[in-house]
Amino acid sequence: MTSLFRVTLRNSGISNFLFQFSGNNEMKFTRTITSKLVKEARPQTESKPKPWPYKEKKYNYFHQFIDRTSSRFDDNSKIIVVEGPVAAGKSKFAKQLADDLDMYYLPEANLDMYYFNDYGFDLRTLDDQLPENARSFDVNNFLMNPRSIQSASFQMNQYYIKLSQYVDALAHVLSTGQGVVLDRCCYSDFVFLEAMYSQGYVSKAAHKKYYDMRNETFGHLLRPHLIIYLDVPVPKVQENIQKRALSYEVKSPALTKEYLTEMEKHYKQNYLKEMSKHSALLIYDWSDGGDPEVVVEDIERVDFNRHDNQDLKFKDWVQHLEEDWAYLRRKYCNEKNYILTLSQVTVFDVPELLLGPEEAHERHELYNNAPGNEFEYGYNAKMGDKNFLFKMSAKYRDTLPLRERRQY
């Protein structure tokens, strides 16, 4: 509403006039992502404000008047997602890419981030005290036992944790101006669901519920700038799995040729097709690996500043007013829980997503009395917290830890 009454110089032509005299126009760089090497060679002209410590400090309404979100943005304030089939070498590549571009690497969201609490206690160790269907269920459980009744809720949890991570990624970009490299994201999570559905691991009702949840939360996010797809043909994927030699992957009854083919099909025909309208897309044949530096060169050639009112590409990231950015930043930093709560869709009609009251109560009691879960973080005397007699503060947001998936 404010924008209606606001008088700006933006559309008046005066701004262009002023711009001619503001600064050095002799050298012009294309505005695109630059690698660390190029950045170091380039003379530093403008200084950015320090990164906002968004994990500890709340960005409230009044901060926007002293701390402008766009002042931290530069060419590298982008979100890059690395996608690809199982065992394609995504994490290694993404880590290398983040290093080359001086970006923030977020490891693939996994349920370890959920099952380990803030004090590092593993809730899965309580499994033997719980009834069968209330136990933890992680990727390795799914791969060994895909026909379990918990497969559907596992897939919902996977989406939830990826969503949580993506909100963190957005908060990071807006608060620090540093770009983020993600290893898979919530947008691509449905390819797993489709593969599971094709093999009959999840029911039709659960399949629909998943999309309900996805549609509830979708509109609140900004799509990534760039998607890098590492293409590996299915036989090669199977070979890679054997080579990686993770016991639960090698012996898995789930990772069949059909499953992997279905995954590839949905990756290419649904995900990439849909996302290429909104994001830049780079696809590489990664059958025998590849050189991240070549990819960096290609990324440097992509023009991220191109946008058009009629074109959807990068449109999510076109915000005209400073307060629009401030609004988004408050949403991703402060109201993360609101977005996550939207994913809790009502389920009455899908038995596999429901847990009986006795089991739910038992798990609730057990998890809430687990070491470190008894009280809020910072208030557990049993875990060594001290001096909280006069303490009132608490974490204002739950930022996911940077925890790689355990491989055993």
């Binding site: 009280f375 809020e376 208030y379 005397a381 909280f388 007699l389 006069f390 303490k391 009132m392 608490a394």
Partner: protein, 122 residues
């Protein structure tokens, strides 16, 4: 049995006079507001701490602050109530003083004089 028990008021005016010796105030009368207000707010504050999943012995400055505030608030309410009834009694007393004819001193009667004879009708 004469002389035991509370003194009885002789007239309506005496009944409306404070400290007429007819009744004794409750022993906690003067601290009642502090106690009730303080206790309610202390309980509420501890309940909130529990609801925030924190040990009860944490954030003591908040608990103490809320309790003190609650005690003062309770006393304020108590004083307001006292003032209200004092004013009401003063108005009534004044009215009784202005119209002494309408409020003669109480007549001491025996129950025999009060009760009417009961005549069963069958």
């Amino acid at each position: 049995m004469a002389g035991t028990g509370p003194k009885l008021a002789q007239s309506p005016l005496e009944l409306l006079t404070e400290d007429d010796g007819t009744r004794k105030p409750f022993i906690l009368h003067n601290v009642w507001g502090y106690l009730v207000g303080g206790a309610l707010c202390l309980g509420g504050s501890l309940f909130a701490t529990h609801g925030l999943r924190r040990p009860l012995m944490s954030g003591m400055q908040r608990t103490i602050g809320i309790t003190v505030f609650g005690a003062l608030l309770g006393n304020y309410a108590h004083e307001r109530r006292e003032l209200y009834y004092a004013e009401r009694d003063a108005v009534l007393r004044h009215y009784v003083q202005l119209h002494p004819d309408d409020f003669p001193p109480y007549e001491r009667k025996k129950f025999a004089e009060v009760l009417e004879p009961w005549i069963p009708i069958r």
